[in-house]
Subunit: 266 residues, 2 copies
């Protein structure tokens, strides 16, 4: 069945590995009959900084509260057109792929600014004006798929379970769980390419082929089994039930079968 | 002894809790005789997006490699003046405090862009042109202290050891360990204020008092005992030695006594 896929990407260099991943994604997905939407953040001159200019009609002209003004702008239809356009792409998409180089163990600022600005109150959080009722598996983007495609300069070893940087899936947990699963998306295991600084032409070919294969299963593979807030595992909506992941703490208790958690795929 | 402290902060609203924390920090630190430097990112109109404009004299005019051009600009003294000024503040500082609201479980884009642009190759990574030789406890900022002061909208419960968001110290690990410890700084346990959305005047007073007390010990308290790359715990410089944190994986194996890890301080 034909689907719509939104690619959001953050690298200005047309020859970069990130952009080659974008090109291959367009080609592969269109080849499968899917429709592709692009958000080329550098190319669009995306405004990264969330600030008062994003609230042209303020609820409170004196004191700037981002949450209150974000909710007001969303509810009154006074958001800037660039934010609105991205929200509309998200609403029609069946899958969202973020493609970026890992900079200092996180998103490049321009992509973080896409999250900061587009994930408005009333839209990605505070959905239905009901505070935290809809989050982590429930929300406006429920039923859509999300995937990170990350270009990592360091070696896979440095991101291995006992590698010095920490495991990539845990470093990216604030994004996979906190940004994408939060408004309801099913998040697939991260697709990572390691050692991009010294990858070479043969390495690029291997990486692009692995990416083509990965994309072929975009709508078939199993998402990371993050626990849903409203699925019974959090009786009070805040803390994991005592009978689950007994005696354990940390990020991975929020994956329902943490021992079988799919690792970042090379 | 008088010290120099750099405050880097990211909130445009003068009445925000973040800015009140900045004001209290200035007053408290100056009251102790320290010298305070301010990087008011919104006020400065800090350029968040790392792009080709940051490399006015390119090594390769055809293809943009951020690492290569960052190293070239740093080595040849051709970095933009705003980047250079921040690096010089870091070099003279004895302590660096980042003050910000937690947005989507990470730094606001403008502050991420401060890291992306200021932490140049040759400076914060690739120090001395020796690849990964100096990192995690060694590097150009070695001996300086670093502290995050984070304004968190959600409740402390949601960030507790089994809270639905994940523990705050692990969510911030990419920043404390990956951004601040990486170039050599001693990172103190994060100072967090929870529930800032509904804090009220009395709550603000309590929070500011706790912050004053915390700052009084800025140069006395023990940092998070992250393991140093070159301290013997990583025999090959990549993977934790087998005899340490036996049978365990994840972010916290990189804290030398993970059972006594100081939690984020409320």
């Amino acid at each position: 069945m034909k689907k719509k896929v939104l690619l959001v990407f953050a690298h200005p260099e047309p020859g970069s590995l990130t952009r080659q991943f974008v090109d291959v994604a367009v080609e592969t997905l269109q080849g499968q009959g899917h429709q592709v939407m692009l958000s080329d953040l550098y190319g669009m001159g995306w405004k990264a900084v969330f600030d008062a200019h994003d609230f042209p009609q303020r609820l409170d002209a004196e004191r700037l509260s981002f949450i209150a003004e974000s909710g007001h702008a969303y509810a009154t239809g006074t958001q800037p057109p660039d934010i609105l356009a991205e929200q509309q792409k998200l609403l029609v998409a069946d899958a969202v792929v973020l493609l970026f180089p890992l900079w200092w163990y996180g998103l490049p600022a321009i992509l973080k600014g896409w999250i900061d600005r587009v994930f408005a109150y009333g839209f990605a959080y505070g959905y239905q004006g009901e505070g935290n009722r809809y989050r982590y598996g429930d929300g406006i983007l429920k039923g859509k798929r999300a995937l990170l495609a990350v270009m990592v300069g360091g070696s896979a070893e440095d991101y291995s379970p006992r590698g010095i940087n920490g495991p990539l899936d845990q470093i990216l947990f604030p994004i996979t769980h906190g940004n994408l699963f939060y408004p309801g998306m099913d998040v697939l295991p991260t697709h990572a390419v390691y050692g991009t600084g010294r990858i070479g032409a043969a390495g690029v070919e291997l990486a692009l082929n692995a990416w083509r294969k990965r994309l072929a299963n975009l709508f078939a593979e199993a998402p990371i089994p993050f626990r849903r807030q409203n699925g019974g595992d959090y009786p009070d909506g805040h803390v994991l039930a005592e009978h689950l992941a007994i005696g354990r703490t940390g990020l991975l208790v929020h994956v329902s079968d943490e021992d079988s958690l799919p690792r970042a795929v090379a």
